[in-house]
């Protein structure tokens, strides 16, 4: 019973803390650029404001345009239910949920692409075609990474992979893990639309991918999109932590253990976020035609990771 | 020190004569005791002695030729008579060290040193071609030798696993006598030998690792070309002979000899065909070197008394003939300013003496009697026929005739006819000096070897063959 409550709590944590994570990243980036920066709570205020605004819909748009943000948000929230955060178990767990996780993220993207096309503006179409390219290239390595880890752990469920990893010696990092981590890091950058693949703050028509898609949206719809985008970032960060560094998750359901798990989770998340902020402030965005090449690196690494599971099998 | 060219030249000549005398003394000592050991790293036997005789002769001729050739070299960074002689002597010392090395690791180090010492000599003129050729030579040979190092390590591993002491596991005489001890790891020995063949084969210029050779030979100053072709290639052949002996003792001769014949025949054939389309005299000669190295490799691969005897004798006769031809080509290049075949029409009228030397060299290099190469090639062919190795015999005979046609074709284009150069204002003529002494010695040695091999050399040769059998 206690475990069930924790599962719900950790899922809500992922969903509700997501805007805060975004706020922290922009604050960090501001500091690195020697600026004061907005408050870390700013994304919440922004969401609040958008939820209370009137929604404007292009008169060419159909039901698809209206429902796309809702579908995307729902898919992302459901995906959050599969991730272990504080202890190696999740609200929803089934064997093979690694595939479900990937496809839930894909459904969100698919819905957004359709919605952007339905909006009728030329930017929407451009954005969704770019988004489709990136998604198609990023999906294969993400799959392969998860498969490699699933082979190692002999289970197809995210929370059980995390449980298996905890039982391993912290120092015995395997080649598979290194390669998979590298691939996943690249994929995560592409999936969440951060620099160097996409710039979340740009509105320059030549370079934007995600922002081009959401250009026609306003009011509550935009709020949902922003929120689900924030959750996605949180999801991938938590996925990396859960798969590659789950040590510190509490194995027993005690208040002390959970507090420690929350602390270590926050610490690991902070490391990732700092890394992301540093990379985003120091690296230039890739040109659009260099993006496939960047993702090809991830594919190669992921394929290598899968093959290495066979080579290094003891 | 040695600000003037004359001082540098006379010092170099003195040092060279001392060097040759020292080599002669060493050869004499070795031939009396049949093997000589100095410390842990140096060792010599009759095979060494034979190659040292060859080296001494070539180096003396090259030095003699250089004394007048060096005259027009402009002074520049790393390009002055001082640098030329220093590098030439470094080159010589590293080759001597390869021959004397008793330790295969030391041998590798010195082989790499030959590349390093000669790279600047290849790029000596600092022209576009010379820089490109020098860079290519340095990179290709260094990579090739890196593979040879890997092969050396594999041999070392095999020897250590076979139970040899680590300090003995790289001494070639210990390995050669370890014989059946090494036979426990045939896969390793084969792997190592392939790497060594690729590595040292790069230095020899065996096809398909020959890409550096024509460039380096064509762009280097002619004495250096002669030194590369007549001394350096032999030195790499020597290294492979040592490894062949070890491998043959351990796992039987079939493996290494088949590889020798394969690469040898490939080199002979490919180089022979490429000679038809050459447009530059020195490149033509360079491909001829590839071809002759192929003949030597084939001879070694055939084995047997006449095969090895012929191959060893061929290293000697080829180096004499090739020195003669490169000296001649050097004269042409110095006097006419180019070695492009299309620009050299009517050479016989312009430079009669040089042309005569070239013709003698041509007859010698295509293997016609009464020159030494006829004897050595005949000996190899005899072995091929007596072993009924029809493929090798066929390839050798076919290619020799192709080469004969190609060489004669190119030379006939050059030598006769009225000169285009005569119309230009700068009239050129033979300049007789030390260079003709050097060429004369070459011709004399070639004819002597063609008529009968002098007893001391024959004795040394037979002793060397005995070492390998």
């Amino acid at each position: 019973m206690m475990g069930f409550v924790i599962n719900i709590v950790q899922m809500l944590l992922l969903v509700l803390a997501a805007p805060l994570l975004r706020g922290i990243i922009s604050k960090l980036k501001a500091w690195i650029q020697k600026r004061q920066g907005a408050s870390v709570w700013r994304p919440y205020a922004n969401l609040w404001k958008l939820f209370h605004k009137e929604e404007l819909v292009p008169n060419t748009a159909t039901l698809i345009f209206r429902s796309a943000p809702v579908v995307a948000f729902a898919a992302t929230v459901v995906a959050a239910a599969f991730l272990p955060v504080l202890h190696p178990a999740a609200f929803l767990t089934l064997d093979g949920d690694i595939f479900l996780f990937v496809y839930l993220l894909a459904i969100g993207r698919f819905a957004m692409s359709l919605g952007a096309l339905d909006g009728g503006s030329s930017f929407g179409g451009m954005g969704s075609s770019r988004e489709a390219l990136v998604a198609a290239l990023a999906e294969a390595p993400l799959f392969l990474v998860l498969t490699a880890l699933a082979i190692l752990a002999r289970t197809g469920s995210l929370s059980e992979i995390a449980a298996w990893t905890i039982r391993q010696n912290f120092f015995d990092v395997s080649t598979v893990h290194l390669l998979a981590l590298a691939a996943l890091a690249i994929v995560a950058v592409a999936e969440t639309g951060r620099i160097p693949v996409d710039n979340p703050t740009t509105h320059l028509e030549l370079t934007m991918i995600h922002e081009a898609m959401v250009l026609e949206y306003s009011g509550p719809s935009l709020a949902l999109i922003e929120w689900s985008q924030a959750i996605k970032l949180n999801l991938l960060a938590t996925l990396m932590i859960g798969l590659f560094a789950p040590w510190g998750m509490s194995l027993t359901v005690t208040p002390l253990g959970l507090a420690a798990a929350l602390g270590t989770y926050a610490l690991k998340l902070a490391c990732l976020v700092i890394g992301l902020a540093v990379v985003e402030s120091s690296v230039a965005k890739l040109r659009m035609y260099a993006v496939p090449d960047f993702l090809r690196v991830a594919s190669a690494l992921a394929i290598l990771a899968v093959i290495f599971t066979a080579i290094t099998k003891r | 020190m040695f600000k003037s060219r004359r001082a540098a030249t006379s010092f170099a000549l003195g040092a060279g004569i001392l060097e040759v005398l020292a080599l002669a003394l060493a050869v004499w000592r070795i031939s009396r005791t049949s093997s000589l050991e100095l410390g842990k790293y140096l060792r010599a036997d009759s095979l060494t002695a034979f190659f040292l005789v060859n080296l001494g002769a070539v180096f003396f001729l090259v030095l003699l030729y250089s004394t007048s050739y060096i005259r027009h070299i402009p002074a520049g960074r790393f390009s002055s008579p001082r640098w030329f002689y220093s590098l030439l002597f470094l080159f010589l010392f590293s080759i001597i060290a390869v021959y004397l090395a008793g330790n295969l690791g030391f041998l590798w180090i010195m082989m790499e040193a030959t590349t390093l010492a000669s790279a600047l000599l290849v790029g000596f003129y600092n022209t576009e071609g010379a820089v490109e050729a020098g860079w290519k030579y340095l990179i290709v040979c260094t990579v090739g030798l890196a593979f040879a190092l890997f092969g050396t390590i594999v041999f070392y591993v095999a020897a250590v696993h076979a139970g040899l002491q680590p300090e003995m596991a790289l001494q070639w005489y210990a390995l050669a006598h370890a014989g059946k001890m090494l036979a426990n790891s045939p896969a390793l020995l084969k792997l190592g030998f392939i790497f060594l063949l690729v590595g040292y084969g790069t230095k020899i210029g065996l096809v398909p690792m020959h890409s550096w050779l024509p460039d380096a030979h064509a762009e280097a100053p002619s004495p250096v070309s002669a030194m590369l072709s007549a001394a350096l290639l032999n030195c790499a052949v020597y290294a492979l002979i040592r490894y062949d002996a070890i491998t043959s003792n351990a796992i039987g001769a079939t493996f290494s000899h088949r590889l020798f014949i394969f690469f040898g025949a490939a080199s002979v054939f490919v180089a022979g065909l490429l000679m038809i389309v050459q447009k530059d005299l020195k490149r033509l000669l360079a491909y001829s070197s590839v071809e002759h190295m192929g003949i030597i490799a084939t001879g070694l691969g055939l084995g047997g008394f006449f095969g090895i005897y012929g191959a060893l004798l061929h290293t000697f006769t080829h180096s004499m003939a090739k020195s003669l031809l490169f000296f001649g080509a050097g004269q042409v290049r110095e006097m006419v300013g180019t070695s492009k075949i299309s620009m050299l029409k009517g050479l016989a009228r312009q430079l009669p003496w040089t042309s005569a030397a070239l013709v003698v060299g041509l007859i010698a290099i295509v293997g016609l009697p009464p020159f030494g190469l006829f004897v050595s090639e005949f000996s190899i062919l005899r072995e091929a026929f007596s072993q009924r190795h029809w493929l090798a015999a066929l390839v050798l005979l076919t290619t020799l005739s192709i080469v004969f046609a190609a060489m004669t074709f190119h030379f006939l284009k050059v030598l006769p006819g009225s000169s285009q150069m005569a119309e230009s204002k700068t009239a050129v003529s033979d300049r007789k000096g030390p260079e003709f002494v050097a060429m004369g010695i070459c011709v004399a040695v070639l004819i002597t070897l063609g008529l009968s091999i002098p007893a001391p050399l024959n004795y040394l040769l037979k002793a060397a063959v005995a070492v390998l059998q």
Binding site: D293, V297 | G105, A119, V131, F150, V157, P166, V277
Partner: protein
């Protein structure tokens, strides 16, 4: 088990993985300087490996070799190459004829190939598979860089990586060659690099670029 033993054992078991990392990163690198830094990292890993192996097997000589590798390959050569780049003042890209993405694909294939190649000889060699495969992978990576990168400095880098691989192969199969031979090899390497440096300057002065794939004056 003391702390030192633990550290040495960890180093020996994870060195291969780290080396694969450097190899793959080198395939993706777009600037020569990145490659130089990666090479320094790679050599540092080798140094640690030598020290660890020396500690485990109680070999004094290992520390001398480690010191030499540290001095020459971690500091001297990278510094010299960076100095050379500064001095040459030419473009800093590697001149790749194969894009980073495909390079990583090819390099991954080569790593798998090296595992396959090592399998054939495992019975005769008493060495761990992974580290030996890492040595072969380094050799292949060096060759790969030399073939697909056209800048003169990258050819030198490729050669250095190749040499690192050979060094590692010798280290893991026999615990290195005799000391004096190792010193000789490193000395040769240094002189070779020095000469290549001279030629790089000459190429720049004669051709005004350092793209050796464009040196095509001598053919046939």
């Amino acid at each position: 088990m003391g702390l030192f033993e633990l550290a040495a054992a960890k180093m020996l078991s994870s060195a291969a993985m780290l080396l694969f990392g450097t190899v793959l990163l080198m395939a993706t690198a777009k600037r020569i300087s990145t490659c130089v830094y990666l090479f320094a990292c790679q050599s540092a890993i080798l140094t640690a490996e030598v020290v660890a192996a020396g500690y485990v097997q109680h070999m004094r000589e290992a520390y001398i070799i480690a010191g030499m590798v540290l001095l020459v390959k971690v500091f001297a050569i990278p510094f010299a190459l960076l100095w050379l780049m500064k001095k040459l003042r030419t473009a800093h890209d590697v001149g790749a004829s194969l894009s980073p993405g495909y390079s990583v694909f090819v390099m991954s294939g080569l790593i798998i190939l090296s595992f396959a190649a090592v399998r054939l000889y495992l019975i005769e060699l008493h060495a761990t598979e992974v580290i030996l495969a890492a040595a072969v992978a380094l050799i292949l990576n060096g060759a790969f860089l030399m073939v697909t990168r056209s800048k003169a400095l990258m050819l030198m880098m490729g050669l250095l990586v190749l040499e690192n691989g050979i060094f590692l192969a010798a280290l893991v199969t026999t615990f290195g060659m005799p000391l004096i031979i190792e010193i000789g090899i490193v000395f040769d390497l240094l002189i070779g690099l020095f000469l290549m440096g001279i030629f790089v300057f000459r190429i720049r002065d004669t051709f005004d670029h350092l793209d050796v794939s464009r040196l095509r004056g001598l053919r046939g």
